[in-house]
């Protein structure tokens, strides 16, 4: 029976937190009440990407994009839109800079500039149903790979596509597969295919969304990789903190097995390959290849000497191919549409040598001081400015952009002058940051770069496995110095000391966590040295964050006496009658920032 309309409700973790599961139930109940259940189908889809505006619902075929939908809006939607065909104006999305709402999805700037390859099926299919994935020609790439291509051909195709590791290292996947395959043949040991879904970077949730929206793309990518490399066993190492993604992936694996796409004699082509899900135990360091494999083997998750490459001697000393979720998700389309199609996107000419550029697209999770927080997929080579301002919708509260942090804790902070730089592997690394997994944290004038550096160093000190001296002791001492600077007790030679420590760590640390840990400090020193000097010499915190160095005050010009801040202040440091300009007692103030949160007039000053 053909449905005349589909309501696509986003059930990514963000929207689920907003209550989209209940939304679906009430919507279905309402439709049934109105007897429309045979005409209108309600589908729950993966993450639509626009998390800031969640829970999101799209009504097709008209493509109307509703945001911040709540259960109490359901009767209105059914009545007005589904019955009478008039979109509910209140739920439409109006970009912050404009007045009029934009009903159609394709017109919304957040989506317009994106190019969906990995996220092509997000919001279109129900991740729990394999039929939906097959409907959008899922597993046809697998069929092509098994029947029409030789394993060597598959590897060559990936190599020529210039696909580089989306986990952060940017190592060409084709070369990795080739070496792994060769090692398997030479040593006569069956290689292993592993998917790294640990995603430990704070603020990064790309892999989660990919798995939650389109798990089969990852599965299909892994099977093709296994065919190319000649592996018989596969693992997905997913972090413990992604229960919904794990449940959907497990469901996908079971369905794939039922459909003969996984397990014994896949598609009758005589290939045996199965995938098992293994959970991480909450250690950021287990995102690193050797630590991950140690954890897979049940051992203490700590990295080992890197000169023994995991593609030759990895999990249980077998050749192991470790790629990120996003890398595998790209594979089916490359096989289906060919390497040239993929190489045409992105920067540089990768046909001869994958190192010469960054082809394909990259998924970023845009967070921080940005209007359109969410998941975006943009072609390589796009500029930071386009991402932040066109797609991201600029900085809220009209504040000024200060910096953007890419690559998670191992990445660096790029200042305003770098906004027009093309976003790809090599240029980011040159600029002192790195592509990393794809976390992009936007910072405005009210963030203190010293505090940001201290936050990341604190995170890394906590997450360092502590095995080798420079990382364990280096991070601890760096944190002490940064905290000292933040408390206004820093000395000018501390800056030289930080740089020296950073250099030694980059030289001597055993694994990437250690060698890339100094990046936040070194990049903030490189671009925001003046903020450090302000903290040390002037005992001032430009971003108004470091408690020891700021004092709170109320700008009489802006304060309209709305009394909100008095209620929020826990130490009764603010006095004043309603409708009158209020005053703040500096001695009582503990600088907790509660008043800033509630002040609609932005009247609280931090100097």
């Amino acid at each position: 029976m053909a449905y005349r309309a589909h309501c696509l409700i986003c059930t990514g973790t963000g929207c689920v937190a907003g209550g989209s599961f209940n939304l679906r139930k009430t919507l279905e109940a309402e439709i049934a009440k109105r007897g429309l259940d045979r005409e209108i189908q309600v589908i729950t889809t993966g993450c639509q990407g626009f998390c800031a505006e969640g829970p999101i619902m799209i009504v097709q075929p008209d493509g109307v994009f509703y945001c911040r939908v709540e259960e109490r809006d359901v009767p209105a939607i059914v009545e007005e839109h589904l019955l009478k065909g008039r979109p509910v104006k209140k739920l439409l999305y109006t970009p912050p800079t404009e007045k009029a709402p934009i009903p159609a999805l394709k017109d919304i700037p957040f989506f317009a500039k994106q190019k969906l390859i990995v996220l092509r099926n997000r919001g279109l299919i129900d991740p729990d149903r394999i039929e939906d994935y097959i409907a959008v020609d899922g597993y046809t790439a697998l069929g092509k790979a098994l029947t029409q291509m030789t394993p060597e051909g598959i590897v060559l195709e990936i190599k020529r596509s210039g696909l580089r590791g989306r986990g952060g290292g940017g190592f060409p996947a084709g070369i990795k597969w080739e070496t792994c395959r060769h090692a398997g043949q030479v040593r006569g040991v069956a290689p292993v295919v592993i998917c790294n879904a640990d995603e430990g970077d704070p603020g990064a949730f790309m892999d989660r969304s990919i798995i939650e929206s389109d798990p089969h793309s990852v599965v299909e990518g892994m099977i093709i990789a296994a065919r190319g490399i000649g592996a018989s066993e596969g693992f997905v190492y997913i972090r413990h903190e992604y229960p919904l993604a794990r449940q959907r992936l497990q469901l996908a694996l079971d369905h794939a097995r039922e459909f003969g796409l996984l397990g014994k004699n896949i598609l009758g082509a005589g290939m045996d390959f199965d995938i098992e899900i293994r959970e991480g135990a909450g250690a950021f360091v287990c995102g690193e290849s050797t630590a991950l494999m140690a954890s897979l083997e049940g051992k203490l998750g700590e990295p080992r000497a890197k000169y023994i490459h995991t593609v030759e001697h990895g999990y249980q000393d077998r050749p192991s191919n470790l790629n990120n979720v996003e890398t595998y998700a790209n594979v089916p389309l490359i096989i289906l549409r060919g390497a040239d199609w993929f190489a045409s996107m992105g920067t540089g000419d990768v046909k001869e040598n994958p190192w010469n550029g960054s082809s394909g697209t990259k998924v970023f999770s845009l967070v921080g001081k940005i209007n359109n927080t969410g998941l975006i997929e943009v072609p390589m080579g796009i500029s930071l400015r386009e991402i932040i301002f066109d797609i991201g919708g600029g900085i809220p509260k009209g504040r000024k952009f200060k910096a953007v942090q890419t690559g998670g804790p191992s990445g660096g902070c790029l200042p305003e002058e770098k906004l027009d730089m093309a976003v790809d592997f090599d240029s980011l690394t040159e600029a002192g940051s790195m592509m990393g997994s794809g976390g992009m944290i936007v910072m405005d004038e009210q963030t203190c770069m010293v505090d940001v550096a201290r936050y990341f160093i604190a995170f890394l000190t906590e997450e360092s496995c502590g095995k080798c001296t420079p990382c364990r002791e280096g991070l601890k001492t760096m944190l002490d110095v940064l905290t000292r600077i933040g408390d206004g007790k820093g000395r000018m030679e501390d800056l030289g000391l930080l740089e020296e420590m950073g250099a030694v760590m980059q030289d001597c640390c055993l694994c990437a966590l250690g060698t890339s840990a100094p990046n936040p400090v070194l990049s903030t020193l490189q671009y925001f040295r003046h903020e450090y000097e302000a903290h040390i010499r002037d005992k001032k915190c430009p971003g108004g964050v470091c408690k020891e160095l700021i004092t709170y005050g109320i700008d009489p010009a802006k304060c309209d006496g709305c009394h909100a801040c008095v209620r929020a202040c826990s130490t009764a440091a603010i006095m004043g009658e309603v409708k009158k300009v209020h005053t703040l007692d500096v001695h009582k103030c503990i600088k907790c920032g509660a008043c800033i949160e509630v002040c609609r007039r932005d009247a609280i000053t931090r100097t």
């Binding site: 000169y307 502590g466 095995k467 080798c468 001296t469 364990r472 030694v504 001597c508 055993l510």
Partner: protein, 584 residues
């Protein structure tokens, strides 16, 4: 294994494939500092102090020398400025955690780190992981492990409790570069129990041992506890070590047996008045012999328990010998070795006072008396009298910390108090307790002192009543080495002459048992002095072994049924003799 060409600090060299840079450099005499490396263990590469600068195809990288393998054309710089900067910083970081560890301070001095910028912590574990790795890789007890992560990372046992899997082998304490792990020395008086000093599990007892072969002490060897280690096997070039060897009981058909089971020293603890075991520095003559031995724990130097050189030593003769309460016999050898000790002490420790307490100086052999006179000339003090008591109750400061020997000097009729630093007890030579059992086994008897009794004290000192069984050495009575050697020769030649003859003459008058009359009461088995009669359970009969029967006839007289008879002494013959006698 193909060899790799490389350059270290500008010097061309080559090394077999897969050799770590550290070893390649060491072979050329270039020292690269290490902290978490140990030749017996897999390289762990965590302290990073061994990081060196390498150039491979004009790309400069910093790698840890301890585990990075040599590759063709690699150029290594073990001491460039960048390497030294890294080492200084790493040392400062380590000192921030363990500021007072000698091994770190030595390295810090070498690299000019005098004022560590992050202060000096007072922890002593640099988390090098050697203890964890030796415990799992070599010992196999898996007791130690790392806990927590980041700066809180520590080494400990499971749940921080004393683990019952720890076999106290001390390997962790030995490999720990900073001494953070120590063996709790809670057994008092270790010196006394192990005068030869603590031994490794595989050792050669002493240098003069014959055969001079290494033996494994099964109780303390780690392999027998956890199945791992076997480091000795890897290190032994002759590949002579096989842990699977078991004790084998071998049954050997022999014609002659030589009993040379030797003696044992009397247990000094029995003579409470001499205080052995209660006070340190009181030792037996054997202990002193070991102390004197160049291969001993002190390489021949005579030292007290706490390592000082004694100024005065007392040597007590006849301890337990010529003593009604213990052994009435004279142990024969003590006087002469006591004199030897006195001479050695005089020679080794200039100006040391030596007191020999004796009853009679028995210098019975060739050149012995002359030796005694020489000692008199050398100024050894001889006190004729038995030592009554040794204790440490000092009466005045001069005796403080000394052992007081109270003895009556019968020459001058005075009871003397002599404070000394060390006492040697010349204990009696005793028969081994097992001799009694052996004597039953080989049907030769032991005298009242437990020494084997020879067939004839004068005419057959090395043979026993049982033909083919000979005795020699101290098991037959206290004697010194010359006499023992002489007896050994005698016993060996007696045995050889027997072997030469090839067969044993049986006695002419042996007894036999008539099977049909024997009712299996085994009374004869009980009375036979030579265990020549064996009872056959199946036939319920006893039978006599001609080779062993000496023809004494005791069994014949004891047999109630008259089943046993003796050739040439049948009842009828005796009755005939009686008739003959009474006929006249």
């Amino acid at each position: 294994m193909k060899t790799i060409k490389l350059k270290i600090n500008g010097i061309e060299t080559e090394a077999p494939d897969r050799t770590p840079l550290l070893q390649a450099a060491e072979r050329m005499g270039i020292r690269i500092p290490t902290l978490c490396h140990h030749p017996l263990l897999e390289p762990y590469g965590v302290c990073r102090i061994c990081t060196v600068e390498v150039r491979i195809r004009n790309r400069v990288r910093m790698v840890t020398a301890c585990n990075y393998p040599v590759t063709n054309g690699i150029e290594v710089f073990t001491d460039s400025e960048r390497v030294r900067r890294n080492r200084r910083m790493i040392l400062e970081w380590m000192l921030a955690r363990c500021g007072h560890v000698p091994v770190l301070n030595r390295l810090a001095e070498e690299y000019g780190v005098t004022e560590p910028r992050f202060g000096r912590g007072d922890d002593d574990c640099i988390l090098c992981g050697l203890c964890v790795k030796v415990c799992s890789e070599v010992v196999g007890a898996n007791v130690l492990g790392f806990f927590d992560r980041g700066p809180n990372r520590t080494v400990s046992t499971a749940y921080d409790r004393t683990s019952d899997r720890c076999i106290t082998c001390g390997a962790c304490a030995q490999v720990c570069p900073t001494g953070a792990i120590r063996i709790k020395d809670d057994q008092e008086g270790i010196y006394q129990a192990m005068p030869m000093g603590p031994l490794t599990s595989i050792n050669i007892d002493f240098m003069q041992a014959v055969p001079r072969k290494a033996v494994i002490d099964r109780d303390s060897c780690i392999h027998f506890k956890t199945g791992k280690c076997q480091v000795c096997v890897d290190v032994c070039e002759a590949k002579a070590i096989d842990h699977k060897q078991e004790d084998r009981v071998e049954e050997v058909e022999v014609g002659t047996i030589l009993l040379t089971t030797g003696f044992q020293l009397q247990d000094p603890r029995v003579l409470k008045e001499y205080g052995y075991g209660k006070y340190k520095n009181i030792m037996t003559s054997l202990d002193f012999e070991v102390l004197n031995n160049a291969g001993g724990p002190t390489a021949g130097k005579i030292l007290t328990a706490d390592g000082k050189v004694p100024k005065s030593i007392g040597i007590v003769h006849c301890v337990g010998s010529r003593d009604q309460k213990y052994h009435e016999y004279c142990s024969r050898v003590c006087c002469m070795y006591a004199l030897k000790f006195a001479h050695l002490i005089k020679e080794k420790i200039h100006g040391c006072e030596v007191y020999n307490f004796y009853i009679d100086m028995r210098c019975f052999g060739k050149g012995y008396e002359e030796f005694y006179n020489r000692l008199l000339r050398e100024g050894v003090n001889f006190v004729r009298g038995k030592v009554a008591e040794i204790n440490d109750a000092a009466l005045d400061p001069s005796e403080e910390g000394k052992l007081i020997m109270r003895a009556e000097d019968t020459m001058i009729g005075v009871v003397r108090r002599i404070p000394v630093d060390m006492v040697v007890l010349c204990l009696a030579m005793e028969a081994k307790p097992e001799a009694k059992h052996l004597s039953h086994l080989f049907s030769c008897s032991t005298g009242k002192d437990g020494f084997f009794t020879e067939k004839h004290p004068k005419l057959a000192p090395v043979s026993t009543p049982a033909d083919g069984i000979f005795i020699a050495g101290a098991c037959q009575g206290p004697k010194d080495i010359p006499d023992t050697v002489a007896q050994a020769g005698a016993a060996a030649s007696a045995a050889l002459s027997l072997i030469q003859r090839g067969e044993v003459e049986t006695e002419a008058v042996t007894a036999t048992i008539q099977e049909e009359m024997c009712s299996g009461c085994q009374i004869c088995v009980g009375v036979c002095p030579y265990t020549a009669i064996t009872y056959d359970k199946g036939k319920n009969k006893s039978s006599i072994n001609d080779a062993l029967c000496k023809g004494c006839g005791t069994c014949v007289a004891a047999c109630p049924a008259g089943a046993a008879y003796q050739k040439h002494f049948r009842d009828q013959q005796i009755f005939a003799e009686i008739d003959g006698i009474l006929a006249i």
